[in-house]
Subunit: 346 residues, 2 copies
């Protein structure tokens, strides 16, 4: 089969690899229909994070179940599924608490390799999310929205859940990447009354507005902080969705939060050495981490996509085939694409 492979920083190649096989009774083999490139992939693409040479890549997909292990009852071959980047077992303490992104029964060192024709999915007995019908029952927009439920939309939603966004809230979104844009959708879904997106990219700001942002703050740094405070009569916002991951982004989040607000942080943290005293003196909370993809999809997000209540698939501004994987990464790396879609099988 064809699989995207990391050759060196800046270089991804499609290579021929053996088709994966069932190794545990809880495994499933998935034939990938659509995959995509994540902002977090850029860390190793840019050489800022180590990655094993010749490893397969990608962790977001929708596809068809090809084969299941003996313990997998919830899906069967032929089912159309969301393939989460998380692999909750469904029964450990973390999964039971609703935080499957911290499942203690995940296979250590697992390299998912979703940018490929086939993938092996672990803990399929719980974590796979069945989509009604077959791919041909959906149009382009809905297929793309279903694909976002494997990571980016669930991650934006985790920001809103972590920040405990409630109906009527004023919410600020730090980060205008695909996760930040999905966080706008999530804030709106939670009933936020006012959604302030910090963005200095016209196209991203426009999409944020389409998704529900009521205000765009296009300044940077201190000027952005002052602008948000001005919009809230100096009170600060009820919740901040931090979708970048840098220390600077978290620090900005603290400065625009009102007393008692919670920052929902889903940007993968880089060097987050910070003085947390400001959090204390502002009674500001910091929560977040890896999203609970399966839980969120089942609870709410899949239904919202099926009803077309949300259309997160619009974050895919550029479309590629698996053979064009290098270009898919380049478009993200150069910020031409908000998010690159990768068509694998039709």
């Amino acid at each position: 089969m064809k699989a995207a492979v990391f050759v060196e920083p800046g270089k991804i190649e499609v290579q021929e690899r053996p088709q994966p096989t069932i190794q545990q009774p809880t495994d499933a083999i998935i034939r990938v229909i659509r995959a995509c490139v994540c902002g977090s992939d850029l860390w190793w693409y840019r050489g800022l994070k180590q990655r094993e040479v010749n490893s397969t890549v990608g962790h977001e997909a929708i596809g068809i179940v090809e084969q299941v292990g003996a313990a997998v009852q919830n899906v069967q071959p032929g089912d159309f599924v969301i393939v989460p980047f998380t692999h909750g077992c469904g029964h450990c303490a973390a999964c039971r608490a609703g935080f499957e992104g911290n499942c203690v029964n995940e296979e250590p060192g697992l390299n998912p390799g979703y940018q490929a024709q086939y993938l092996r999915f672990t803990n399929a007995h719980w974590a796979l999310v069945k989509i009604p019908g077959q791919p041909e029952d959906y149009d382009e927009e809905q297929l793309n929205s279903l694909l976002t439920l494997s990571d980016v939309m669930a991650t934006g939603y985790h920001a809103a859940m972590s920040a405990q966004v409630q109906a009527g809230d004023t919410v600020a979104i730090v980060g205008d990447g695909a996760v930040g844009l999905c966080a706008v959708i999530a804030a709106k879904l939670q009933g936020a009354q006012r959604i302030i997106t910090l963005s200095h990219h016209t196209k991203r700001a426009q999409l944020a507005q389409k998704f529900g942002a009521t205000d765009i703050v296009s300044m940077r740094d201190e000027a952005a902080i002052q602008a948000v405070l001005k919009l809230t009569d100096q009170a600060g916002v009820d919740a901040v969705l931090e979708c970048v991951g840098t220390e600077q982004a978290v620090s900005m989040a603290v400065k625009i939060a009102r007393a008692g607000a919670v920052i929902g942080r889903v940007g993968l943290p880089q060097n987050s050495q910070m003085n947390t005293n400001d959090l204390f003196w502002g009674n500001i909370g910091l929560r977040g981490g890896i999203a609970s993809v399966t839980k969120y999809d089942r609870q709410r997000l899949l239904a919202a996509v099926l009803k077309r209540e949300i259309n997160p698939g619009q974050v895919f501004t550029h479309k590629f085939t698996l053979d064009q994987i290098q270009a898919a990464y380049e478009a993200m790396d150069q910020r031409q694409a908000i998010k690159s879609l990768v068509i694998v099988n039709q």
Copy 2:
């Protein structure tokens, strides 16, 4: 009048001072009945924090309203009141959000000086909490419990509120000082099923058990972490109440929390430079700050003391008169007293 005054690190003196007067329509003058010494007072007593020489001290009291400003309607002269260390105005964004400890209308640079015969209380029109009846209607134990509602019990409760403790939870308390012991009471009040107190002082551990702790972990550092994990089948606890304030205490809290748990931090933070990546990778939240004393007293704590559902006054292990203020501080400093009570007027 007599007032306790900070002379130099290690030295507190009772001096004659002018009786305070109404300066704002929202002020009240309180005749202090009982006051006490707070763990946070030890920071400047020990010279670890700067404090103005000759400043009056103390921020916890119960007393009788002596005089009120024109705007104060909720209490009148003669009323018996809890005198919170916080001074919420009741109507700013922070107060409306329920975080009066961050009231933006607090008088800047206010030095409360509650360890004195009289004190001036600002924002009395909202923040003072009326106690039914008069001091002589209560016995020693209940008077002491009422006194804890000016700070320490409300602060322990804020730890539980910040950590979002729910019925059935397994909760760990880091810190066996008066705040940590009150946090045990708060966790129990919230319906926690299992309350693990980290304490290596027999008397404090005994009081924790009296207050509702189900398990005592007496080891230190890594051994304590392993003991808590063992008690929870390696899962970690549902909530951690951090009642110390050091970086080490917060770091320990992170290591004993299960995925998705929230650390409720009420220990005044010292040098809290920390790497927050561990929070992210564990989906662990960090919340907390200054307690909402008036709100908590009115919502729940005053009624609980009046019904004798809780008896936080037992944290006062040593009793002094105002004239003995130096000894009251020494007893806390040398960890002889869990908390020093100061009888001012009968």
